[in-house]
């Protein structure tokens, strides 16, 4: 079960159990809903952006351990970042989980998000990991809804 323990690492299980920033923001400046119609996962990402900076970010919804942990760690990663930095992280994260970025040998700012690299061994779960990021991207770009189907 080595690939499995790569996927379900303690950090991920912990974020699944106790998701950070798992709440609604009252009066967010940006928000979007994400759906994965394949499995029924649903997620709302809330942002408060002041100037160019993500001042606050939170999420709500239901999903698997991977999508929930990914959302939880995403909110920690993008808080305080500029919109451009958040978008850049989205691109790097996406490239990593689809196997186009080697997080160990290529330059990146993923930090502890590298823990999701194991997802690429489970192609059907890639959408779970990227759903929060797609939703964030939609919110930043003022789209209301996004679907990973």
């Amino acid at each position: 079960m080595s690939e499995l323990s790569e996927l379900y690492q303690q950090v991920i299980l912990d974020h699944n159990k106790k998701p950070r920033n798992f709440r609604k923001l009252e009066a967010p400046s940006h928000t979007a809903e994400g759906y994965n119609p394949l499995c029924g996962d649903q997620m709302t990402v809330y942002l408060n952006i002041a100037g160019d900076q993500v001042e606050d970010v939170a999420f709500e919804g239901s999903g698997c351990a991977i999508s929930k942990a990914s959302a939880s760690m995403m909110t920690q990663a993008v808080k305080g970042k500029s919109k451009e930095e958040a978008e850049a992280l989205f691109r790097e994260f996406h490239s990593m989980v689809i196997g186009e970025l080697n997080e160990e040998t290529e330059e990146n700012s993923l930090g502890n998000l590298k823990i999701f690299a194991g997802v690429r061994e489970f192609p059907v779960r890639v959408k779970c990991a990227t759903l929060p990021w797609h939703t964030l991207h939609a919110a930043l770009n003022k789209q209301d809804q996004v679907s990973t189907e």
Partner: protein, 420 residues
């Protein structure tokens, strides 16, 4: 139900089912997944194909390939004979009165759409009501919703109880003079419930209302007798009953089919065509425009032969025993809740585990070579009814074993361990 096909089904016991001999008929079951023997428990999504069915499709491709109903040449006649022979087998399989009542379709979904377009759009109008049930598959919801939207008709829904059984008193209350159609599933793909469709059909007929039965989950598991049920339409998919994908049937009473409009226009569904007017062919050809999935439909005929050869009623007894055993094993695990606990069930076991998403269950089971479905089973209203985002579903066929269920139960325990 037609009885007497088999000498004494009541004396058959599940222990005498030679499952290893049956398993040898299915090449797909011989492989390993992630280094573990494949444990295929996703039969409600699609069942595996026995070698004799594969062989029959291959014979068509290798030796008979040509178009049907068209050529005067040898191969076309061979193909047409095989294709129409499969239709004859279907007729006997569901005990239709007339072979013209059996329309080949891509699967149950297309079958329901044939009826929605051919019957519904012609005979259902503004203010009319269509009754479906709370446990329907999207295939038996969305077409009727589309029709309601187009015509200004109203969709009524028979509710169910917490066990996943339809509330028949409520159904009686929904039937009235505005009701123009009833569409319900025979067996629930998400819950396993076997609905009392014969009684429900009789009830609708008191109001002169035709009934379509979605038999996608019933045809693989139990004998189906459309005359005994007295259903007006009955749709099922070949790929859920050991035939290739792209095969399936919608049965319709001939007097209804004769009044219906075609679903699609094209070749093979006409008598004459001029630029001014086309005269449609009679059933079944009216509903089979274009070249069908010939190899798949011939395969459906071969799958019916296979089911008859192994004994449909004995297979059903064995599957009932698998369900009983799996329910006992899985429900004994702390934290597991079975969704769908109807008294009368087919071999479908949907379950959820506290605080663990079915997708995670599915991934971990897959690592052990166990194939289950994790998701909403194309029945989102059922998930909403039970207030779960999704379930994990193990669905059993007559080639599954109790040992496989033991591995399933052990792996579910492992899932709970991982998530602590």
């Amino acid at each position: 139900m037609s009885s007497g096909i088999l000498s004494k089904p009541e004396t058959f016991v599940a222990d005498t089912w030679n499952v290893q001999r049956i398993r040898a008929d299915f090449p797909v079951l011989q492989q390993t997944i992630n280094g573990k023997p494949l444990i295929y428990l996703d039969n409600s999504a699609s069942s595996q194909v026995p070698q004799v069915v594969i062989d029959r499709g291959s014979i068509y491709i290798e030796q008979e390939h040509s178009n049907i109903h068209r050529g005067v040449h040898y191969l076309s006649q061979k193909a047409t004979t095989a294709y129409e022979g499969a239709r004859e087998k279907v007729k006997r399989f569901i005990n239709a009165r007339d072979v013209r009542e059996c329309i080949f379709v891509r699967g149950a979904t297309e079958g329901i759409n044939v009826v929605m377009h051919g019957y519904g759009r012609k005979f259902i109008g503004a203010g009319d009501e269509i009754i479906i049930s709370a446990m329907e598959h999207h295939a038996n919801i969305v077409p009727w919703q589309m029709l309601c939207e187009e015509k200004g008709a109203r969709l009524r829904v028979i509710p169910m109880n917490d066990a996943g059984e339809l509330l028949l008193d409520e159904y009686d209350g929904l039937l009235n003079e505005r009701t123009k159609f009833v569409a319900v599933m025979h067996v629930s793909n998400a819950l396993g419930t076997i609905n009392p469709v014969k009684e429900m059909i009789a009830q609708a007929h008191k109001y002169g209302v035709p009934v379509l039965i979605d038999g996608a989950q019933a045809a693989p598991h139990m004998p189906v007798d459309v005359q005994d049920l007295d259903c007006d339409f009955y749709a099922f998919s070949g790929h859920k009953m050991y035939a290739p994908t792209g095969s399936g049937i919608v049965y319709g009473k001939l007097e209804l089919l004769e009044q219906m409009n075609p679903f699609q226009g094209g070749g093979d569904m006409i008598k004459t065509v001029t630029f001014e007017k086309t005269i449609y062919a009679d059933p079944p050809n009216r509903f089979e425009a274009g070249t069908p999935a010939i190899a798949s439909q011939i395969g459906l005929g071969a799958a019916i032969d296979y089911l008859n050869s192994i004994g449909r009623e004995q297979a059903a007894v064995y599957e009932a025993e698998l369900l009983r055993y799996a329910t006992e094993r899985v429900s004994a695990i702390e934290g597991v809740r079975i969704i769908g606990t109807a008294k009368n069930k087919a071999s479908v076991l949907s379950f959820v585990i506290d605080d663990i998403h079915p997708h995670d269950i599915g991934t971990i089971l897959d690592q052990e070579g166990i194939a289950v479905r994790a998701g909403h089973h194309c029945a989102q209203p059922v998930m909403q009814r039970f207030n779960v985002p999704a379930t994990a579903r193990a669905s059993f066929a007559f080639y599954n074993t109790k040992e496989e269920i033991d591995v399933l139960a052990r792996t579910i325990e492992r899932v709970i361990e991982i998530f602590g």
